[in-house]
Each structure stands twice: as C-alpha cells, then as structure tokens.
C-alpha cells in the first residue's frame, strides 16, 4: 500500500493527526469530533447564557452607573409570575382577564397557529416541488424566495399592504368581515395579519427542509409500494410520511422554537405594543436598561420553549433527542 501522502511535507502533521484520531475508540472519537463545536458554543453561547442567568438574579439598576443592580436571588422570577414585573413591560406577562394582550398567550397562539399552517402548506408545496415538471427550477425558486426577504423589508411590505392609507389589503379583508378597517390598532387583527405575513415568509423554510427529506427517500420503495397496490394517498401515508418524519420533526421543532421567539416582524409590522410577544418584552426591557428583568424574561421564555419542545417530543415520540 504505497502512498504518496508522505511526499507532501505539509500533509505530514495533518496525517499524523488523522492517524491519531483514527486510532481512537468510537466514544473517544465522537468526543474529539464534538469538542470544536462545544468549544465554539461554550464561548459564544453557553458563557453568555450563564452570564445572562446571573444577570437575572440581580435587581435592575435604576440610578447607579453600574448597569447591574444588587443581587436579588430569585425575586425577579417570583415577581414575573406574580405580575410584579408587569409594570416594567408594555404588556403583562400573563393575564387571564386580557388573554390576547398578555405576552405569553399571544406568543403561544401565534406560534401554534402559524407553525401548523406553515407545516401543512410547506408539505403541500414540497410535494409539488418534488415532482418532475418543466420549469420546476423556476417554481422552486419562486416558492423559496420569500425566505430570502429580510424581515425589515417584508414586515414593511406587509405593513404597507395592510395599511389603509397605502395598501388595499385591509380593505379586502375588511370587506370579507375578517378584520376591522384599521387592523393595526387591534391585537386580534394584527395577530391575524402577522400570521398571514409569517406564513408567507417562513413557509419556504418548511418547504426546503421537507423537500430535502422527500428527495432523500429511496425511490425503490415507491416501486415496491406501487406493486403492492398502494394508491397515491397510501404511498404518501405509508412510505413518504414515515420516511420524512425525522426531518419533518426537526423542521417543526425549529420552526416552533423560532415562532416562540418571534420579535423582528412584530416590531416592524405591527409594533410590540399591539402584539406583545415574549421576545418583545425581552427587548423592550433590555432597551430600557432593566437588565435584570430582561434576563429574567429571557430565561423564562427559554424555559417555556423548553417545556413546549419537551411536550412536542413526548407527543411525537420523537427520536430527535
């Protein structure tokens, strides 16, 4: 087994390293592989998270030059859930009397509705793009393109479309009795428009992932199913669906997480006051220099998302994690 590798001088140390790695047992090998990833994440993600957590244990600094207030233990968390922090937020964290005006509920409603619709539409579009037809590359481009529009732009775009002085969108929807003539003043209407906009924007995310999943399915299996007598629907039900399930699961998971963190489009399109998402609360308190409060809401949001995803794992019996 002659090899010319050794004749390239710079490759020699590289080769020594790969040799070393190759000698490791599977478990050692895996940890070696994961170490750079975790190193990067430790510095740029975990450390800030820990830092933020520490921040959440401190009171806000109201007057002192030091941006961090004194240590307060978990009082911020207690206050958040007992409504004590609502004063510092444009909208209450959770309020049963005004469910649609409280951050938690608006966020959950938004995420639930938009992710479900995006999944269905995304699947439908992915199935279309999975077929062979002339001009498919162009249709693919079109259906994926909304994802490429920066949030600032697409938020403004939809804002203008439904802004009654500029666009005609609200007139149409108003005519259909779906929204009032000035939708951006009502949380409900704004939420609806936000969901429409979000669907337009993020369905491509689902499309791309599902499409990639569909394309990775072994075509032989369709032949087998066809010969076994499966109709189009049955092939979808028994072959396509179970085989894209893993990637579909990941796609929904991340969409769900993203949706629960929604902020940018709200800020641009309807304003955090009208549709107060959890992230809106984080940002607005952050910008007011209520760092303790902001960190507390951030952590609570993360915990909430964690809870939702755990529920999702249990519900789908996912093997993802």
């Amino acid at each position: 087994m002659s090899t010319k590798l050794d004749s390239v001088p710079w490759r020699r140390p590289l080769r020594a390293v790969t040799l070393r790695i190759e000698q490791l047992s599977d478990t050692q090998f895996v940890y070696v592989l994961l170490s750079p990833v975790f190193l990067l994440l430790a510095v740029v993600a975990f450390w800030p998270i820990v830092n933020t957590f520490e921040l959440s244990l401190h009171a806000d600094s109201i007057v002192s030059p030091d941006p961090i207030g004194e240590f307060a233990g978990f009082t911020n968390y207690v206050d958040l859930f007992t409504g004590g922090l609502d004063a510092l937020m444009p909208r209450p964290f959770v309020s049963l009397s005004q469910p649609l005006k409280s951050a938690l509920i608006v966020t959950v409603v938004f995420a639930g509705v938009s992710v479900s619709i995006e999944t269905l539409l995304g699947f439908a579009q992915a199935l279309i793009l999975n077929e062979e037809f002339r001009g498919r590359r162009w249709v693919r481009l079109v259906l994926i393109l909304p994802w490429a529009v920066p949030i600032v732009i697409f938020g403004t775009m939809f804002y203008l479309m439904f802004n009654s002085t500029v666009g005609f969108g609200s007139e149409i929807l108003h005519g259909l009795g779906l929204i009032s003539a000035t939708p951006f003043t009502s949380t409900q209407d704004s939420l609806l428009l936000l969901i429409i906009a979000d669907i337009w924007k993020t369905t491509p995310f689902m499309v791309l992932l599902i499409l990639a999943g569909l394309q990775s399915i072994n075509r032989d299996l369709y032949q087998v199913a066809e010969v076994a007598g499966a109709s189009r629907w049955q092939r979808f039900r028994h072959v396509t669906l179970p085989l894209v399930a893993p990637i579909l699961g990941v796609a929904i998971l991340f969409r769900l997480i993203q949706a629960l963190r929604v902020y940018g489009v709200i800020e641009v399109m309807v304003g955090c006051n009208t549709v107060p998402s959890l992230s809106c609360m984080v940002v607005s308190t952050f910008q007011s220099r209520y760092y303790g409060t902001s960190a507390t809401i951030a952590f609570t949001t993360a915990a909430l998302i964690g809870l939702v995803t755990l529920g999702y794992f249990a519900f789908t019996k996912s093997e993802v994690v």
Binding site: N218, D220, L221, Q223, V224, A225, E226, V227, A228, G229, A230, S231, Q234, H238, V239, P242, L243
Partner: protein
C-alpha cells in the same frame, strides 16, 4: 386470468437497448423462468410487466387486457425485487402485511396470512425485527413473504433465492411450487440457478442481449437448444463446442472427426459447423460398452481434475502443448468431461474418450442456429 402477452416490447435507455423487440405469450397459470446472462434484460422485462418501467415501444397485455398504460397497482401482480427493497421503517410483520393492510383486510386474516407466509420462509420468531437487524438471506425471505402473502394474478420473482443457502433454497423451491399449484397463479421467475430453472418451470425463456432466444420446456431447451447460445447457456458446466467443417465424411475438426452422411442434413460440403456435446456425454473409452452408438475414439490428455463430490470434472487437452482455458466457450482443442467420483482418471495422463452419438449437436458456426440434435442412426448411416 393471468395470461401475459408482450407484443414487440422494446426498452431503450439512451443507446442501451435493454429489451429488444420482445414477444412473449404466457398462459394463465404457467411457471416461466427467464434466464440469460447478467445484463441481458430480465429485470427490465419484469419491470415492464409490472408497470414500473414504461416500454419505449410495444404493448403489454395481462389477462387479455391491455395494461400498457395502467399503473402497477391495477395490474394484479406481486413482485419480489432483485434488490429486495424492504421498507426500512417497518418491522418484518409490517413489511409482510403491507399489501394486505393497504386493502383493509381484517386483522385476523392478516395475522393468519402473515403467519403462514413467515412460516413458509422460516422466519417465524422474527416478525418484530427491523430489516437492518437481519442477515442478507433473512431479508430476502421477508421480500418473498411479502409477495406470497397476497393472491395476485401474476407473481414476478427476480432471483428470489439468490441469497439463500442450498437447503433453504430447495425448501423454498418446493414451497413456491406448491403455492403455484394451489393458487394457479402465473409466475415469472428469474434465476441464475440452472437447477431451479430446470425443476420449477413449465417453460424457460432464454434471453440474450434483450432478445428472446428460445422459449420451451426445460428439457427441450436442454436437449434441443435452438441455437449455440442456448446450448451453451443451459447446462452447467457448459456444453463443449468444437469448430469444424463439413466434409463428405461428415464433421471434421482439427483434432478429431465424427463420421456421418452430410447429405442427410441441411448442410453443404465445406460449411463451417460447430459440434456441441455436453460434458456428461463424453465417456472414457472403458465406458464405451454402455453406449449404444459411440463416436470414433478421440485421443486426449487429462489436464485439470475438479472433484465436485457427486461427480468429477475432467478437463481434457486434445493437443499436448495447450494451456487449459477453463472458461472458454469455443475451444477447438479441449473438452470437458464429467465422470463418476470413483473414476480412476488422474491428472496429466492420456485418456481416450468417445462421445455419445445420440447426444451430439451440430450448429451452423456462423448463425449459431442448430442443425440437428443427436446423430440418429439414419443420419449416421453412410
């Protein structure tokens, strides 16, 4: 029910012609083996029958109905794929019952059938295994069970036993035959195992380069091959071919002659002729008494001996200085002979052999077409 007819079916992939103007006419309930060299178009033919591949040309009829444009699911077929293709996300039970579940069979009926099928393929305790947890042969058996669990009009089986051991293969063969009798289904079967083709099929279809060469009952193909290709392909080890010419004494090759009266055959003097004889029809001279009509004696030297257990293959050199080329098809200076294992022949000693006249085949060297099978007394008479 179950008749299959291919009319002028051609399938081309770019410049590769996988199936070339194929005409097949299979009766209902027939068991047909497709045989032919690797890449000759057997699987493609199967796929065309199944509707998985659209023929470039021609039409397909199943049960007298034109199905050329019908999707596979409406053709009433079950198929064992050459590449097995189990559903990786289903366990064995689900794989086997897939077709039944699609048709909404009762749970009990499904259970009953799956049990029976898994019994036949001897996978009883493995119903809850996933495909990836099985050996190659086990997977292939799941694929078989998946097909036989249904009652289609036509079974298509593409080398269903390729990965099974000899004993299991014998067992499966019997089971498939029994099933065939029971269901009276038409079966189209691809196999590379000569024994399988010989014992199971009603007729064998021999294909070469996408073209049908002969379709006949197994023994007919064995004993009366329609051309040199079939003669050489059917039977293992292969038939010996020796090139020669027609002289007025009969057949004359470089190293031996076989005498007969050429005028009794459709040949002219000087024609290039190939003589074919199967290894088991070559006899050492001391067995000559068991032959009714042996040919003239042929002098040879034994070269390589291949003991097979129940028989021994002896590679004979007709000329002294040649190197035995075990796998060559036509070689004028060597012969393969099969003898009993208790034969006393040793390597590298002179052996005199004779051929059984009644088992000698003559072919046109140019077209390969058979001229005659067996030099009957009438022909031999000079």
């Amino acid at each position: 029910m179950g008749e299959i007819q291919l009319n002028d079916v051609t399938k081309r992939y770019g410049d590769v012609t996988a199936v070339d103007n194929m005409n097949l006419d299979l009766d209902d309930g027939e068991f047909i083996c497709l045989v032919g060299p690797s890449g000759c178009g057997k699987s493609t033919t199967m796929e065309i029958i199944a509707g998985l591949t659209m023929p470039t040309d021609g039409s397909i009829l199943i049960s007298k109905q034109d199905v050329t444009n019908l999707p596979p699911k409406d053709r009433g077929i079950a198929m064992v794929f050459q590449n097995i293709a189990l559903f990786p996300h289903m366990d064995v039970y689900d794989n086997i019952s897939f077709g039944l579940r699609l048709r909404n069979y009762e749970k009990e009926e499904i259970d009953r059938r799956v049990e029976r099928a898994s019994d036949i393929v001897q996978l009883e305790g493995m119903l809850d295994r996933m495909p990836e947890e099985m050996s190659g042969g086990q997977r292939q058996r799941v694929a078989i069970a998946r097909a036989i669990v249904r009652n289609p009009d036509v079974f298509l089986m593409d080398e269903p036993l390729a990965n099974l051991d000899a004993k299991l293969r014998v067992h499966m063969r019997t089971e498939l035959q029994r099933l065939h009798k029971e269901l009276e289904t038409t079966i189209v079967y691809v196999t590379h195992d000569q024994a399988e083709a010989m014992t199971m099929s009603d007729r064998i279809a021999v294909i070469d380069s996408g073209e049908l060469q002969q379709i006949d009952p197994p023994l007919t193909c064995y004993n009366e091959p329609s051309n040199m290709f079939v003669a050489g392909f059917i039977g293992s080890p292969s038939m010996n071919f020796v090139e020669g010419t027609i002289t007025e004494h009969g057949f004359e090759a470089e190293n031996f002659d076989v005498e007969f009266e050429p005028s009794h055959l459709d040949v002219s003097l000087g024609d290039d002729i190939t003589l074919g004889v199967r290894p088991e029809d070559v006899y050492p001279i001391d067995a000559v008494h068991s032959l009714a009509r042996p040919t003239e004696e042929i002098a040879a030297v034994s070269d390589v001996l291949e003991p097979m257990g129940d028989e021994v293959f002896v590679y004979l050199k007709l000329e002294d200085d040649v190197q035995t080329q075990i796998e060559e098809t036509v070689s004028n200076d060597q012969l393969l002979m099969s003898v009993e294992p208790d034969s006393l022949i040793q390597e590298d000693e002179p052996v005199t052999v004779v051929l059984d006249r009644s088992k000698v085949h003559l072919f046109d060297s140019v077209s390969g077409t058979a001229i005659c099978h067996g030099l009957t007394p009438a022909i031999s008479q000079r």
